[in-house]
Amino acid sequence: MIKNEGRTIKRPYTRIIAGVEIMFNGEGFFITPSSWTEDVFQVLAQEAGVEEISDKQWMVVNFIRKFYAEQGKSPLNHHLKVGTNLSLAELEALFPGGLKYGVRRLTGLPDPCRRKVVGKRVKSD
């Protein structure tokens, strides 16, 4: 749960991954989903604890990237279920971090909430 005592907003940050400079928001989601590549994904997945990407994981990743490119929006859970023929429980278990911080974050989708973290915005001394 987000708490408002003494909390600072997590700022966006930039990383170079697989030779690509990528901007992330404070929650680790891509700010520019177009900078996602398969190589970047593999690095991020490894960091999340996935040693080897399974066929099922690739299938979901490919569906999401195609959906986002063609539709210009992130798939809702319903679209994911229908498009991958997996249950929500299966999708939730697919990557460490579950649907939001696993599937959605690693596939380069924007932060699904796009809600700023509540807290303090102050200059640090």
């Binding site: 700022r11 966006p12 520019t32 929006k73 809702l76 200059k123």
Partner: protein, 886 residues
């Protein structure tokens, strides 16, 4: 019951009805003539239900059917159709009058009543004839223009074809009639309450009458037995999180334990008719433990104050923010002149005419069925996603109906939550249309600010430093209050070069109506303080306020309060162009010396940021088989003119005639995510994404050598192309430095208020408001002027009258809604300095006037009476009190 015979739109009808039935109900429910609207809980306050009976205008909400034997009733549908419109409907479209359109059928019927007896009405004739008709969007000026244009049509002096822009006139800077305006003029677009849904169940909510209470028990046994009742739903029936909050989980579809503000939803009754639902809702017995109310920020911040949010993890300070540029304290210590003052702004309501409303139904069977929510404003990821999680249903489709006003209020979920939950629970189509009184309590407002301000200047009149400590009364729900605070900070320096800035803000919970997005969203409050302080400094230095502003305007290469280096600053040009108006106004004020009624002239500026950190928009275009073009994107258009912007940009970029540009913007299943229609961002962001989508299409056609849809298909190319715009270079402020680039673009302007203050009554009368605005390239001048004029009217209400008091502001009269009686003339000068990073050089406009109007009026009042009133609204009582203290 009684048999009554009368004509409706020329067709004789026999009705067997309760003779006390209001005519509006017969028209809307019995005959589905839904062009006749209702806004004011049938109090005869809004005029949206105006029809003509036996040649005279009447308010159909006050007209009993029993009085109509043998009568001849004409509704908006009887006047004309989009294919064969009446000249008055043509005039309203061609004058650029129509924004949200909710009031328009009533306005047109009232205009017809006037023009039938007077084809050449004066402004005063029009104001008198339409005195009972309300409009929030236009500021009334365009309605007056439309009626006078209609008079010219009816007198045969000109024709619609002579007024209508030619197709050859191009798409940029041309006021083509907006795509949906004729349908709105003819009353045929469907707002949510107009949708014909046979068998739809109606919802009425049970709401807390207390400002703060614990819900001990809910007893709806009696309610369930009442006629027509299908059932009652409470928080216990919600399968999802029940939360419809944006960030802090403090707002729920139904309150389970605590009701932290008057009007908190406790339960809802679903019945076969709205009257039955409301009767049963009144019979639901809720036992409350009334808790102490934290009424003000001061009470909330006092030691030992109870927590407003029942979750102990949340203190009463929801959010704190700070802005530091340079060294303000050091600069103050060496400043030759310092102004110190306290300013405050009040809680106000966005006041959309259409009551809050939503429809929901389940399409299909089983777990894969789709929950369809027809709501108030499409925002794919805010509304569809929030609802999906709140009600616990994955497959949610959000469709935007036509909406009667927005002004920020529709960025939060309201009626959609209860409607979606009820549709799922009862597996029946439901509609929830709230009363006006209920709509007033269930929606966000504009936050009240309390601001302690310091402004420094050197001996030459150059500003040196600015300081502000402010407290924002949040109300009971956080909503997007933290965004409002950040926007206040990010635009704190307004139009000026302020080398040193120090500001601290606190967002504080109270048990009161809660703030959210409201036209301008943060800058209107802080700009009131800044523009007032700038005026005070000019007086202190004995400098002309216009020259003082010119001397202190920001310039390209200089930095805003957040340290953003600007590459253009068209504000100075706005001041230069307003100078002749200002000089004339000052001379007239000097020439009209009167001890009792005193004239005053006031200025204010605004430089308004558009396109926030990492904002993004996705748009798509599809070449249709008839070589027309469909534009896709979740670009809500409750009246601002996004329809004109999208269609004219698409026609300009592709060369496809305007008549063959189609817009698909309302269905989450069809549209890419273009973000929210708020923050004046859609032209800059989605207009930009649309330009890119058009370029993608044109590139594909060029590559294929295609000139038509058939060519493109034959070449094996897709017919649909995406365009994305992402503000990668706008990162917001850095936590370490407190500085950063916060905006992708700016709209600039200056406003000049001319007022008369009656020193005996304290009344302030606005004689004229002149606006010079520079939003870059202008696509549709009428749409831009419509935004400026409507915003000026809203700003005048903010300055002089409007103040929402929860529990007391129950309708449009108690809220002091603007009327034809408060109308004032407006003149708008449009400047066009193309913006390098904006689509075709044009940026947004919708909120600009809400930033400058009220300080311009406050400065004019000071200029008139020599006493400054620093707490809005400037009521007659405050004026008299100030004069007494002089």
């Amino acid at each position: 019951m009684k048999k009554i015979t009368f004509k409706v739109n020329g067709i004789p009808n026999e009705f067997i009805v309760d003779e006390n039935l209001a005519l509006i109900d017969l028209l809307r429910k019995g005959l589905h003539l839904t062009g006749t609207k209702q806004s004011c809980d049938r109090k005869g306050q809004c005029g949206a239900c105006t029809v003509i009976v036996n040649g005279k205008t009447v308010r159909s909400c006050l007209t009993k059917v029993g009085e109509l034997e043998g009568a001849d009733v004409i509704t908006i549908e009887g006047l004309g159709t989009p294919d064969n419109p009446h000249l008055i409907q043509e005039a309203f479209v061609l004058a650029g009058t129509i924004q949200c359109g909710f009031c328009i059928p009533g306005m047109i019927m009232a205009a017809k009543g006037l023009l039938d007896v007077n084809k050449n009405p004066s402004v005063e004739d029009i104001k008198k004839a339409l005195r009972r008709n309300l409009c929030r969007c236009t500021g009334y000026g365009k309605i007056i223009e439309a009626i006078q244009l209609a008079g010219r049509f009816l007198r045969g002096e000109t024709t619609p074809d002579q007024v209508r822009p030619a197709a050859s006139a191009g798409q940029i800077g041309v006021s083509h009639p907006r795509p949906w305006s004729m349908m709105k003029a003819c009353g045929v677009v469907k707002y949510t309450d107009d949708l014909v849904i046979p068998g739809v169940l109606e919802i009425a909510a049970v709401r807390s009458p207390h400002f703060n209470a614990r819900v001990k028990s809910i007893d709806y046994a009696e309610a369930e037995k009442m006629p027509g009742v299908v059932g009652v739903i409470t928080a216990a029936d919600i399968k999802g999180t029940n939360s419809i909050a944006v960030a802090v989980p403090d707002e729920f579809i139904f309150c389970a334990d605590h009701a932290t503000v008057l009007g908190s939803p406790i339960a809802a009754v679903v019945a076969t008719t709205r009257d039955e639902a409301r009767a049963a809702a009144a019979a639901v017995r809720v036992e409350y433990e009334v808790l102490p109310r934290v009424a003000t920020a001061a009470e909330a911040l006092a030691e030992g104050a109870p927590n407003v949010n029942p979750d102990p993890d949340f203190s009463n300070i929801v959010y704190e923010s700070e802005l530091i540029k340079g060294d303000a304290e050091k600069a103050f210590s060496s400043s030759a002149h310092i102004i110190e003052e306290k300013f405050s702004t009040q809680l106000v309501h966005q006041a959309c005419l259409e009551p809050e409303t939503a429809v929901a139904y389940v399409d299909g069977e089983g777990d894969d069925a789709q929950l369809v929510v027809i709501g108030r404003s499409i925002h794919v990821h805010m509304h569809a996603a929030i609802l999906s999680v709140a009600v616990g249903w994955d497959n949610v489709r959000y469709i935007e109906a036509f909406a009667g006003g927005q002004f920020g209020i529709k960025t939060d979920v309201t009626t959609e939550g209860i409607a979606a939950a009820a549709a799922l629970h009862f597996k029946r189509p439901v509609r929830y249309t709230a009363t006006l009184a209920e709509s007033l309590v269930m929606t966000t407002k504009r936050h009240p600010y309390s601001m302690d301000v310091r402004l420094g200047a050197d001996a030459d009149g150059k500003l040196t430093a600015y300081g502000m400590d402010f407290i924002v009364e949040k109300g009971a729900h956080a909503s997007i209050g933290f965004v409002i605070m950040d926007r206040s900070m990010d635009m704190l320096s307004g139009a000026y070069n302020l080398p040193n800035v120090k500001a601290e803000g606190k967002l504080v919970y109270t048990n009161d109506a809660w703030g959210g997005s409201a036209r301008g969203a943060g800058p209107p409050q802080v700009n009131f303080a800044l523009e007032s302080a700038v005026d005070m400094m000019a007086v202190k230095l004995n400098m002309d306020p216009l020259e003082f502003r010119m001397k202190n305007s920001l310039h390209p290469g200089e930095t805003t309060g957040t340290g953003q280096v600007v590459d253009e600053w068209a504000f100075l040009g706005c001041l230069e162009h307003i100078k002749p108006f200002y000089d004339k106004a000052c001379k007239e004020a000097k020439d009209n010396k009167n001890e009792t009624v005193r004239r005053g002239v006031g200025l204010a500026g605004a430089s308004f940021g558009i396109g926030s950190a990492n904002d993004s928009s996705n748009m798509a275009v599809e070449l249709d088989p008839d070589d027309g073009l469909t534009v896709y994107g979740s670009v809500a258009d409750p009246g601002e003119g996004n329809d004109a912007m999208l269609s004219q940009i698409a026609a300009h970029c592709t060369g496809i005639p305007l008549g063959k540009i189609r817009l698909s913007t309302r269905d989450s299943e069809l549209v890419p995510d273009a973000g929210v229609s708020a923050s004046s961002r859609q032209t800059f962001m989605s207009g930009g994404a649309l330009v890119k989508a058009c370029e993608e299409l044109k590139a594909a056609m060029k590559e294929a050598g295609a000139k038509t849809h058939a060519d493109l298909v034959a070449a094996g190319k897709p017919t649909r192309y995406m365009g994305k715009k992402i503000l990668e270079d706008v990162q917001g402020v850095d936590k370490e430095t407190g500085q950063g680039k916060t905006w992708g673009s700016f709209v600039h302007g200056a406003q000049l208020a001319e007022v008369e203050v009656d020193t005996k009554t304290g009344e302030v009368k606005i004689l004229k408001m002149t606006t010079v605005v520079d939003p870059g390239t202008i696509f549709n001048p009428q749409a831009v002027i419509g935004q400026v004029e409507g915003g000026a009217d809203m700003g005048a209400g903010y300055a002089l009258r409007e103040h929402f008091v929860l529990g007391k502001s129950k309708d449009w009269i108690t809220y002091k809604f603007p009327t034809f009686a408060t109308y004032f003339p407006k003149e708008t000068v449009l400047l066009e300095t193309p913006r390098s990073n904006a689509p075709l050089g044009g940026t947004g406009i919708g909120e600009f006037t809400l930033v400058a109007t009220h300080p311009a009026i406050a400065n004019a009042v000071y200029n008139a009476i020599g006493v400054r009133i620093c707490d809005l609204p400037i009521t007659p009582e405050k004026v008299l009190s100030a004069l007494g203290k002089k």
